[in-house]
Symmetry: C2
């Protein structure tokens, strides 16, 4: 079932007290570089360092009483793992996170700090799913999907809702596409709050499954994972593909060189820490100046979970 | 002459449209680490990457018509240089910035980008002052002091004003002390908006001139500049010392090891780029947990102008 805008409103009321209303930042210098007016919605400054806390919190708050007692499970080494661990802890629900045994220590520690139980597995999809199924069999825990899930999409939609409520005259909203949860929620919020605003997705050139899926009309899978954008490696799900193919205005592609340049510019000029996946949207604007010329453009900066060397 | 709170209000109305109202961020994890509730006033996200734009813009906007035509001059390799260059450009005033010829390229480029004319000099105080005097003689330009100046102090006071207007129940406000301009303005705002709030300054252990000045009752100079806090190397001025000695509640000292640890924690957990001088305030809270236990504490994060290696 596809969430409606009123599902996003309900989600927003539920999660409001457990998330930050993140700031929307602007920069004169950055605008001069791009030739348009950019509004950076800073989900990197969100709790757990990414927008994923929105969908995770909504999913936790919608558990039945029985599910609450049995806990939740997810396999992820990324931002969803941290978000689910944190949201579960805030609401006294047990979280099991299946992580590959080669996951970066900083991510393992973050999930541990948030109080989740980590189950390590070999770093491949089969092992991940096997360990996840073991948890489900053993504890009856509910799996919380990072994107292809009603409550997740409704939660992610609250981010674009905040953008449109603060700036109702945007010409464009640009967000990265991984599994498509954030994009799906953004499209639903756009349709109600600012139907004239065009919504573009951005993908790394080598992980362009959503771009190819729109062209072929069916869910395409990624042939490589050769990109620094570690948050965008997944394919679309059936639910997110359905929403995206019927509503999106286009997908732009960027390469890793462009992403790194954009990421560096944001960090140096805007003084915020952004992960490569987030910098894709700014890279796409720099690359396609003619599309955005003199327009008002919202960018969702999805996360900031990287290691920084001082 | 010492600015009153109404001078700060007048300054705020003048500069409002040329600066950001910077966000005040919070973090559950950071609060757990400290055992108190911290409010980070993010002047690192301010235009030119520091609070200095407040005083610089106010100084520029208060120039007489004659002074506007003759331009402004400052000797600085730090945040004041960038701020004055930017504020001057925004208001069509010529800025001359005297910088040591060994200043980091990134800072030289930033000042250039903001359109100021740079005059290089040998890296010592005599050479700086000599070059500055040459500019004053040649063009009649007005020198804009980075802290010991009425308009600068009134401008810097707008930062704490914004903090107190958003949170009127703070128990403490903590800010770094370099030349004392920000501290002076903060104290004046505190006296009117929240007289019960205690205001603490923070200095690096090896550059503790303000701490010693309060003890001795006269302006002490720094014996070393041996610290990573490059924004806090200056001594107090007569005007700022006068305000600080009559109003401040105390000065805390931190060492560079503590500062680097605090800086790393802020960058990793809060996803914002902060310079060492800014991290001093957080380091002081971590070091003095018993003072701040369970209290509401505002921290002014003064700037974010560092090189980051990705």
């Amino acid at each position: 079932m596809i969430p409606s805008f009123s599902d996003i409103e309900i989600a927003h009321n539920k999660i409001k007290n457990q998330i930050h209303k993140t700031p929307i930042l602007t920069s004169t210098i950055i605008n001069e570089i791009c030739g348009c007016v950019l509004y950076f919605k800073c989900e990197n400054l969100q709790k757990t360092g990414s927008f994923k806390i929105r969908g995770a919190t909504n999913s936790i708050l919608n558990l039945s009483e029985e599910d609450r007692h049995r806990g939740v499970v997810a396999h992820s080494s990324g931002n969803h793992a941290q978000a689910l661990a944190y949201a579960a802890k805030q609401n006294n629900v047990k979280a099991y996170i299946v992580m590959p045994n080669n996951a970066p220590k900083v991510k393992i520690n973050a999930v541990k700090d948030y109080g989740a139980e980590i189950i390590f597995c070999e770093p491949n999809i089969n092992a991940r799913e096997e360990e996840t199924n073991k948890i489900i069999e053993k504890y009856g825990s509910k799996i919380i999907h990072p994107f292809n899930y009603f409550d997740t999409i409704a939660g992610q939609g609250t981010c674009a809702k905040e953008v449109f409520e603060e700036f109702n005259d945007l010409d464009f909203l640009v967000t990265p596409i991984g599994g498509g949860g954030l994009m799906s929620g953004s499209l639903i919020s756009r349709n109600t709050l600012n139907p004239k605003c065009k919504v573009f997705g951005v993908e790394p050139e080598e992980v362009d499954d959503a771009y190819r899926s729109l062209n072929s009309g069916r869910i395409e899978i990624n042939l490589t994972t050769n990109t620094i954008c570690d948050g965008l490696l997944t394919n679309l799900g059936e639910l997110t593909f359905e929403i995206i193919k019927n509503n999106i205005d286009g997908i732009l592609l960027v390469n890793d060189f462009e992403v790194r340049k954009a990421q560096t510019l944001i960090i140096q000029r805007m003084k915020i820490v952004v992960e490569p996946s987030s910098a894709t949207v700014f890279a796409a604007v720099i690359k396609n100046k003619e599309i955005f010329k003199n327009k008002k453009v919202g960018l969702i900066i999805t996360g900031g979970n990287i290691d920084i060397n001082l």
